[in-house]
Amino acid sequence: MTIETIKVSRRQFVFGAAITGAGLSVGMALPLSKTLAAVPGSTRPEVNAWVVVAPDDTVTIRIARSEMGQGTLTGLAQLVAEELECDWDKVTWEYPTPGENLARARVWQSFSTGGSQGIRSSHQYVREGGAAARQMLIEAAADVWGVKSAECVAANSIITHTPSGRTTTFGKVANAAGQGVPPTTVTLKDPATWKVIGQPLPRLDTLEKLTGKQVFGSDVSLPGMVNAAITACPVHGGKLASFDAKAASAMAGVMSVVAVGDDAVAVVADTWWHAKTALDKVVITWDKGENANVSSASIDAFLTEGLSAEQAFVGNEAGDIKAGLARAARTYSADYSYPFQNHATMEPMNATAVWTKDRCEVWCPTQNGEAALAAAAAAAGLPQEQCDVHKVSLGGGFGRRGASDFVTQAVKIAMTMPGTPVKLLWTREEDMLHGYYHPITKARLTAGLDAEGNVDALHVRISGQSILATLIPQGLRDGMDPVVFQALAAEGDHALSYTVPNLLVDHAMRNTHLTPGFWRGVNVNQNAIYLECFVDELAHETGQDPLAFRQKMMRNHPLALAVLNKVAEKAEWDKPAPAGRHRGLSVCKAFGSYVAACAEVSVSADGKLTMHRIFAATDPGYAVNPQQIEAQVFGSFVYGLSAMLYGECTVQDGAVEQRNFDTYPSMKIAEMPHVDTTVMPSGGFWGGVGEPTIAVAAPAVLNAIFAATGTRVRHLPLKNQALRSA
């Protein structure tokens, strides 16, 4: 027996006419994480698309991007609140739906949440939204008083007519303000006068995370809802040949066993546990196709060939690399490699869908609401106008939830039972098998050194996957994937932090059958390891101090140099490391921010690594919420160091071999180094914070391991390497 639980909370909304066609009762209450509640004439008037003010002065700020732990919703709310001049203690938030965005000519612009873009690509229009709302509130008050709006000011949700001292609150004039004409131009505040931006404010979404009240996608519960478990062909690209559901169909609670698309089977049951246990009993024959011949060994050979291939896309070039290498007093070369990795979000993929022939609604944790809506509509065979997606809390994203494969599946299953909500939840095993994996690459780095040990020439050859070629081919430039060159680019958000007179960074694109995807840090993870460890090698090979060696090449990169110098200073690089400990450095520009790390490690006689502490510095330009930036430094370090220590998906007979956290381990608290973070915003630009620092954790630790052992780890993850020879 299933007990249908309708969560009653403030996060509830009345699901009205929208799905009456689905045979569900009008006005039933559905649990939603946060959905637009303001409608014309309601008690919570909308001032503009970004701001809703209730009569009790509660300010609801609309957030288009997805909160997945990175704190973006609090940061975005701070941006709006700053310009709105509202009382921060009265601020709450809600998500508009992608369907509402569509209906309102994309008034909230992009919903996509990736690439550490949440704040840096929307700060301008989000702040303008807050400023426009403030002006409209002031106009409304001035109207009531019959005074000039120029004589009124707003602060802390109170509007004051300066000459008379008369005051009113946002809540009292919000209704009238919403009827007003939006200003055509707004002036944003001078950063020097910011009161909310830059403050280490507590997150707006913490409390419900402490009591079990937060509703994640896997917690969605709708009246009459049934549950589905799914298994897709373990070999990517393979198909479903046939299945025998006799045993499974007879099991408790099972309602149906269905093919999903051409490559998966799902069981629908009263509870998910019944669905999952029955799925284990479905006898499935897969047509695995030719990808079943692929293995880690064959992929390795494919990528190795690319290291010396003639043809490669040029991503960054300066001087004359051939001449530079030819005249070098000494050349030095090393090969590195980085494996496939799963995102392993804590919450496995899931989506809940209800479908009728003229309406489809989906509840899901997604990093890209608009893409999820498009996927739902395509699967449902309906125009997007007849569909919507309700964003529910994400149990982690890290790039994985930018894809909508699970939405497509949920809708397809829901189509087999019109009008009945179906919640699809993947097992961890399914999640491990069907990732959008961190791209696999190898690199060959070759340096030409002059007689003084200066780097006169550097060739970085990358061989491996391209995310864009697989997922977003329209993003390629004449076939070249610019994302491959993150942290090695000539300029921009991912510019190389060194000046080398003769430089070539190129990419031999080698795509495999496993789908790559955006991943926290994505290509900076391996590129920073390749470059920063190789630079460290060069310093040691030429007998130079790794800090001074880097500084020499960074004269034209003052902001990168500043963060590097900061970690060196904090770690007291000029003094010997504490007894038994060894240090390593790393610096990088990623996602528009400058980041550096100095790791302090020890390695026992039997090769056991202890990461004692890491000093980190980040310059994101403007720091919207320093305590959340600090949390992102901690978090990105854990994600990056987990990847460095353990992250590896291997392939046998075309399928990923790791199935759960026993074979795909993740770092635990005992392995966590103490992280000392310096947030040093230099102002004038908007860099990301969710991902950049992931770039520097692993190379700093790897360089420290070398300092400790003389062993250079060039192939990840560390679990496969002996740190001391037996």
Binding site: K213, G396, V638, N660, I669, A670
Partner: protein, 160 residues
């Protein structure tokens, strides 16, 4: 029907004896605060208390629970969300996505129940939950802070 004592209330559930307690809590009792992360006792997302001890409910069959055993989930850890661990977590803004946090909080509360002033080494040994967002530094700080809050509260209580 099986009777369970969950968060102080006797609750009847109807599930096969081999159903993991995790799914009984989530799908029968409607208590979705306890999370599924791996199903094989690796991650700790599903941590609840049975008679005050932390257990990983994804591998704990319903048949193994006695009616008189007290099951506590995140929803029942405190009546008003003010268990010292919850207070410490709020002060430090510990959660990121929040998905592992019910398990992390329950594991931390159980640790403090047995060991009011855990050392870093105790924490390393007892807290083996996975957090993919990487909240460990504030979890560690939070456990120490919760221990302090606990001491402060109990000394206040005894002074009365």
């Amino acid at each position: 029907m099986v009777k369970l004592t969950i968060n102080g209330k006797v609750t009847e559930v109807d599930a096969e004896g081999d159903t993991p307690l995790l799914w009984v809590l989530r799908e029968q009792a409607g208590l979705t605060g306890t999370k599924y992360g791996c199903g094989i006792a690796q991650c700790g997302s599903c941590t609840v208390h049975i008679d005050g001890e932390a257990v990983r409910s994804c591998v704990y069959p319903l048949a193994a629970v006695q009616e008189n055993q007290k099951i506590t989930t995140i929803e029942g850890l405190s009546a008003t969300g003010d268990h010292p661990v919850q207070q410490a977590w709020a002060q430090l803004d510990t959660p990121q996505c929040g998905y592992c946090q019910p398990g992390m909080i329950m594991a931390s509360a159980a640790l403090l129940g047995n060991n009011p002033e855990p050392t870093d080494a105790d924490i390393d040994k007892q807290i083996t939950n996975i957090c993919r967002c990487g909240t460990f530094q504030r979890v560690r700080e939070g456990i120490h802070l919760a221990a302090k809050i606990n001491t402060a509260q109990s000394s206040k209580g005894s002074a009365k």
